[in-house]
């Protein structure tokens, strides 16, 4: 392509294609997740229909069975049921009589006897109804054949329909996904061509996920963070430690764009494996890149139950529009089902299923912190920033937390960025530790290295 046209077209074309690719990928995964839910529903409905069909069939067959004296299971069940009904009825009548007698202080034996007699009468009548003397087997066999055939037909119908429906849904979804995949291939190829032409805007080391260079945050004269640089490798648990006021909170507030850093650059390899320049991003778009954070003061929505709280975090994954929400569109209903399933799975993973429909008000602090953690997993995060997760937890809870963090790292393939005071936790689970003080970096390395580093010891751990 002519270089001039390239320069004009590329900046416009690349974002468009990126968006198309991303949206297609989302749609593919959404439809894939939706399919098992749909199939589940279809199977449930078919099961219900079959159950009722069987019941009806048995009901239809019953009179013939009675006449023929065939003791099928259903007949026995129904007989027992009616028997129990009669027993029940007379039991309660008995009690009424006794209570009335007790109230009025009269003798009840006569009434009770009469009651007993009518009960026996009814029981006899019932038996006679269900086990009559004369039997008529022929009509029974005829009827049985007809009804059985009907039943088999209908059952076959339902099963067939179920299989058809499942197949239909599967093929539909397959076709949709195929279509999307085809377009996806085309767009990805196009995108690859364009991105190859365009020089990679930002470079980052191969297995690094977050790269901070020269980050500085000045509040007037106060240098909260001063020329801080570090790299976070993919899949590791990275710890940021430092005495109070060292600027730890400021650092990740800058990363998550709550503050605008005075100087410095931040690069992040986002969920789509592309390196973005974080300094331009708006606060509410950070989660779309794949960075999530927890809050030190547990920030849950008190008016919603736990599972709804998790759904808030999935907000950016919803494709339905405001009008879809207002009119409760089909897409919204489907999305809600998919998201709820995802939330339930996450709650199960973290052992919080018991609290699914509870409200946060009154729950223990440790559970609320776990819920915050669960919330971060809803948005398929690449980097999870934990703000003093062990604050307020006792030793046992902290050990539990360490396990949970390690589990999250392996199962959800996320990189963890930990800001923490609890040295036990930091030293036990972190792969890399970076120590800062007064906004400047003191040292960075493995926990053992940090523990033995003299400057760190002086500033933070107590000094020699």
């Amino acid at each position: 392509m002519v270089p001039i046209i390239e320069k004009l077209v590329l900046p416009v074309a690349i974002p468009i294609y990126e968006r198309l690719v991303n949206s297609l990928k989302t749609r593919i995964s959404f439809n894939q997740e939706l399919l098992p839910i749909k199939i589940e529903n279809l199977e449930k409905n078919a099961e219900k229909k079959l159950k009722f069909l069987k019941l009806k069939h048995q009901e239809k067959l019953l009179p013939y069975e009675i006449k023929a004296g065939v003791e099928s299971e259903y007949l026995q069940e129904k007989y027992q049921f009616e028997l129990a009904k009669i027993e029940d009825k007379y039991y309660w009548k008995n009690r009424i009589v006794k209570a009335r007698a007790a109230r009025k202080g009269i003798d009840a034996n006569q009434d009770l006897e009469m009651l007993e007699k009518s009960k026996q009468n009814e029981l006899a009548g019932l038996k006679a109804f269900y086990y009559p003397k004369d039997k008529d087997i022929k009509s029974y066999e005829e009827a049985k054949e007809v009804l059985d055939n009907e039943y088999r037909e209908k059952v076959a119908q339902i099963n067939q329909k179920l299989v058809q429906d499942i197949e239909k849904n599967q093929t539909l979804t397959q076709n949709k996904i195929e279509k999307y995949k085809k377009s996806l291939k085309i767009f990805e190829k196009r995108l690859a061509i364009y991105t190859a032409k365009k020089k990679a805007k930002y470079q980052i080391d191969d297995n690094t996920v977050l790269s901070i260079e020269g980050l500085s945050m000045y509040f007037g004269g106060l240098k909260a963070v001063d020329d801080l640089s570090f790299d976070v490798k993919e899949g590791e648990i990275f710890g940021l430690i430092g005495p109070n006021g060292a600027g730890k909170t400021t650092v990740f507030n800058c990363i998550t764009r709550f503050y605008k850093p005075t100087m410095g650059e931040m690069y992040f390899k986002n969920a789509y494996d592309e390196v973005v320049f974080l300094n331009n991003k708006k606060v509410h778009n950070i989660i779309k890149e794949g960075i999530v954070r927890t809050f030190q003061n547990v920030e849950v929505v008190w008016e919603l139950n736990i599972i709804d709280n998790l759904l808030v975090a999935a907000h950016t994954l919803y494709r339905s529009s405001f009008f879809g929400h207002m009119f409760n569109s089909k897409l919204l209903r489907q999305e809600e089902r998919v998201m709820r399933k995802k939330a339930e799975k996450i709650l199960e993973d973290l052992g919080l299923s018991a609290y699914k429909f509870a409200y946060p008000l009154g729950l223990p602090y440790g559970i609320l912190k776990k819920i915050e953690l669960a919330r971060t997993l809803m948005a398929n995060p690449k980097l999870i920033i934990l703000d003093e997760p062990a604050a307020g937890l006792n030793e046992a809870e902290t050990k539990d937390l360490a396990e949970v963090i390690k589990k999250i790292r392996s199962e959800y393939e996320a990189t963890i960025f930990l800001v923490e005071h609890d040295m036990g936790l930091v030293m036990s689970i972190c792969d890399t530790v970076c120590a800062i003080s007064f906004g400047k970096k003191l040292a960075m390395g493995t926990p053992k290295e940090i523990q033995n580093n003299k400057t760190v010891q002086q500033a933070y751990l107590g000094g020699e």
């Binding site: 509410h284 920030e299 929505v301 907000h315 409760n328």
Partner: protein, 360 residues
């Protein structure tokens, strides 16, 4: 002694599915409102004022619903409601009188206008926090009130603007009078209640609540404060304008003194007293603040001579509810309902012991 077979249970569940369906309550409420009108049509002598009070209450429920989305869910205080409802009335009046357009076009225009107006106030709300916003919107309402009084060309000033029914619907020869508009208002109220519930239960409603609880946490979860504040204001303004249009259709007269600060405060009172986060609360609150006043109090001589007493009543309601029942009276109603359930269960047990004696 209840039937426990599959068929029985299934039928029971189906009935439950209907009665427990979220929209069912709204349907019942609408039917009750229409019932009054039905009685009137059938011939039962119901005083005009009572029917009118029901009609106006329904209209104000629509306005209050919009206000509750703003206050109860997005947590934004705005006292400009009176001005917006007034604009709705004047839009309908002006369009049908001077431009001779149909009501539907007026509705379309007012929705467009509501989007613009609501958007403006929404943008303002981004710069100005909570309490200051209430004051700014208070000023806005007062200014709109003055505009209504002064812009005589459009609003006919303090003489009020009348509505000529014959101009409202030009295609079909539908008989348009108070009765039909009553039914129309009831239907619109029903629809708005359903839409409001949908919004509340949807991701948008959850985003509003997240924004209300903590703007930082909401942003960290992907909720754009700008977008959702704008949305909240636009939605609530659309409700207010819609209420204004229906008011004008029903009362067929609009005068600036109606759309003043007192009206905004009354809508606020209705939402707070009833319960700002529950639709049934809104209905309850609107009835208590407006319905009681118009329907019952104004018939009692004591209130007629001292119209200030109903104002005191409303003010007292607000203060007492905030002091002792911050969640609104609907919570009290719910609690009472539950207590009644428990009580009636106990009563039932006692009756059982009486009738059946104890287990021996």
């Amino acid at each position: 002694m209840i039937c426990k077979t599959e068929v029985c249970t299934d039928r029971r569940n189906k009935l439950k599915a209907i009665t427990h369906h979220p929209y069912f309550g709204f349907f019942v409420i609408t039917l009750l409102m229409l019932f009054v009108q039905f009685l009137r049509v059938v011939g039962v002598d119901i005083p005009n004022t009572l029917i009118r009070s029901f009609g106006i209450t329904m209209i104000y429920i629509i306005v209050a619903l919009g206000f509750s989305i703003l206050l109860g869910y997005a947590g934004l205080a705005s006292l400009g409601t009176a001005g917006f409802v007034g604009i709705g009335t004047y839009v309908l009046g002006y369009f049908t009188k001077n431009l001779e357009l149909s009501i539907f076009l007026a509705i379309a225009v007012s929705i467009a206008g509501a989007i613009i107006l609501g958007g403006i106030v929404g943008f303002i709300s981004l710069r100005i926090e909570g309490m200051y916003l209430a004051i700014i919107t208070l000023g806005l309402s007062e200014i709109l009130n003055e505009v209504f009084k002064n812009a005589v060309n459009i609003t006919n000033g303090t003489n009020g603007l009348g509505l000529d029914y014959s101009l409202v619907i030009f295609s079909k020869p539908i008989i348009v009078n108070h009765n039909t508009i009553f039914v129309f208002a009831a239907v619109v109220m029903f629809i708005m209640m359903i839409l409001t519930l949908n919004i509340i239960k949807s991701p948008t409603g959850r985003a509003f609540l997240a924004m209300r609880n903590s703007t930082s946490a909401a942003q960290a979860m992907g909720v754009s404060i700008l977008k959702y504040r704008l949305m909240a204001f636009i939605v609530s303004t659309v409700y207010a304008l819609l209420g204004g249009i229906i008011y004008m259709s029903y009362i067929s007269f609009s005068i600036p003194t109606t759309w003043n600060l007192a009206f905004s405060l009354n809508i606020l009172a209705a939402v707070i007293v009833g319960g700002s986060q529950s639709i049934y609360g809104i209905v309850l609150g609107t009835f208590m603040i407006f319905g009681l006043n118009l329907g019952i109090f104004q018939q009692i001589p004591l209130f007629q001579e001292n119209p200030a007493i109903s104002v005191i009543f409303n003010g007292l309601l607000i203060v007492l509810v905030i002091m002792f029942y911050p969640g609104g009276l609907i919570r009290l109603v719910n609690k009472t309902y539950l207590k009644l359930k428990v009580f009636s269960k106990k009563l039932y047990q006692k009756w059982r012991v009486y009738r059946y004696g104890t287990d021996n």
